[in-house]
Amino acid sequence: MTENQFDEFFRKKLGDYSSKVPEDMWQRIKQKKDRDRTFVILLLLLLIITGGATSYFIFSSKETANANLALSQKRSVDNSGNKTLLNKKHETITTQKDSVNLDHNNNSVDVNATTIKNGSNSETVGEVKRIDNKSAVTSFSNQSKKEIAGRNSNVTNLSQQNVSANNADSLKSNFSNKYINPDGETALKNAELSPSTIQKDSLKKEKNNKQVYKVEKNNHSPIINNIFIEAYASPDIPVSRTSGNSAYLQHKDSTSNMQLSYTFGVRVGALIGEHLVIKAGLQYSQVNEKFNYTKKNATRAVPVVVQRTLPDANGVERTVLDTSTLIQVGSQYKLNYNHYKSFDLPLIIGYETAGERYKASFNTGIILNIKTTYKGDILDSSLNAVDVNSKNFYKSNTGMSLYFGLGLSTKLNNNFQLFTEPYIRYRLSNMTHSNDAFTQKINVGGLSFGLRYNF
């Protein structure tokens, strides 16, 4: 029987066949879509609220994928029993030189089904063909097939070993059109397809349709293409902007100088589509300030204990310990490194260019301050150095900042990316209370270095 005869045979037998679609099929599809949409929304919320929860979700998803993989592997057909490997992609495996396409369902398009063409009388596996409705359309190398499998977590790689192991049977049978149904059974085993076999296969139409849907779904581009977590640290250059009483500011500016500061944090993000990136996380920033204060004619109080001998009128002496305060006058030289520490919640959205090894990105967003603490000294209105917390100069929550960054990343391996990002953090509100003698904003420019792990 030639190939054309074989095709003709199927055409005659199955040409007018139409399989029934289960009544609840679309309902189930809709439910599935709804679930997917809810999933995306929940994921976004979780990203914003907490990266940790998102991470947990990601790990859970990964575990599910691994479970699927394990299940798929279990379904490998025992080759010695003349069974073929079950593949969730519903691959049709042929060991014949020319593939024969089974058009057992006129309306279904098995776009993901692959035909593995084995060279005649050869132990090696040939190319993998993609069947498009009635004919093989595209050929893929095994490597390409692996890439497809890699991109789709629900698809199990078809290992070359399994195919090779099949070859013996295929050669022996000399007719290897095998349709593998979802249950892993061999639908067509031998060269001639008996009507009962076809009938049997047709009875599995419902399952086949399900598989078609799954394949279609897997072939759609997902909304979230990549979820990642990144850790970063940045040396920062703070720029202080003050306003208020000019005499006071003159002294304040002469005593205070901004120093190299730093930021570090962790962000969880997702690549939405091909280029859009959203990130949320938690970061710690410390602005350092050098407080160099000199005061002439400064006074300090030193507690002293003075021992005195008091001879009374009769010459009897008694000792009196007198605790008092000794006031000293001199010059005070105070060098202090003030630290303004803040915990922030960055919410970033960005655009990332495509690129296999290098990527550029532009990121912007807001940084919400959670809490800011201050440690150090400051000049009070009398130009004396006082503890910065003694007069409640600064707010404990400094509000919102704007973030602008330009990033460049390089791929280290499949999971890790190294990135750097010069950025500017611009404060929208003053850090000081409105009733203070001065107002102050500290904007920051920095250069982030970080490591990204792609899940």
């Binding site: 005195r308 008091l310 009374d312 009128a313 008092s324 000794l326 005070q332 060098l335 202090n336 490194y337």
Partner: protein, 322 residues
Amino acid sequence: MKRYPLFGIITLIFFSCSKENSNEFVTDPGNPYNDTTWVKTIAANSPVNEIFQILSSPSEDSSFDATNGSLINFSNNVEMTLPANAFNAGGKAKAEVVFLKTKGDMIRFGKPTTSGDKFLISGGAFHINVSGNNQSLSLQNNKQIVIRYITSHIDPQMTLFYGDTTVNSTDGFTWIASPDTLNTKPVRGWYKRLDTGYIYGYEILSKKCRWINCDHYADFNNLQRTKVFSTLPANFTNKNTAVFLVFKDIFCVGRMIGDADNHVFFTKDVPIGKEIIIVSVSKIGNDFYLDHQQATVTDNINVQLSPEKKTEQEVIDYLNTL
């Protein structure tokens, strides 16, 4: 992979940088606040002596003809009779008078009512200076000036004391009983009839100008005596602080002596049981410090003072209340 160590080094640099704070205070040895030393002998230019120069009020003066003599009326109902040709020069002259009528005045001028170690009960003191042609004039031997002033009561024991500024004492001053008392009673009661009634006071006959005082020795009814001590913080020394013992019920003020060895002020022979006020006045730099504590004298009582910074006027105002 070679970038991992670099990343680690950069991270390490960020977090390993820590700088030490410093707070250094360098005392100024030339600043009077830092001079906590006591001295055995107080120099004339010591801050403590500046206190009296600053707090003392200016004298009241009036011109007269020294050849013809004059009766001069000053404020506070003080009148002074200057006999004719009583001074070693005639012609136009100027009489200047300072009247110390309260215990506070005694402190302001640094003239405690003590003669040596003995307390005096005062009826008021004067500083009289007569000058002609910008030169101080002195009374002739057989001449005396008469000072009359009003007091709240008259003590018949009162006599005349002259101020001695040559003695080696804390103040460089003490009151010496006038030898004139041997022959003539130099202080006596005086009254004058006015339309509204009588006024009375003391009439002092003095053969000297300068410091004269109407006093008598206090006997305190043979009360047991003791030492009274006063201690102050280390910044307050006998070079910048004067401490006075003021009796509450009598016009008697003693200046406490600074013990340079023990850094304490003391006064001997204070009658036990008397109500006293210990007053300290200090001058450190340009700042005045004041403190005062009331106490009842007990055996070897130690009154601790903690002077606070005050203005000159605040010090004067307090002293005027004594």
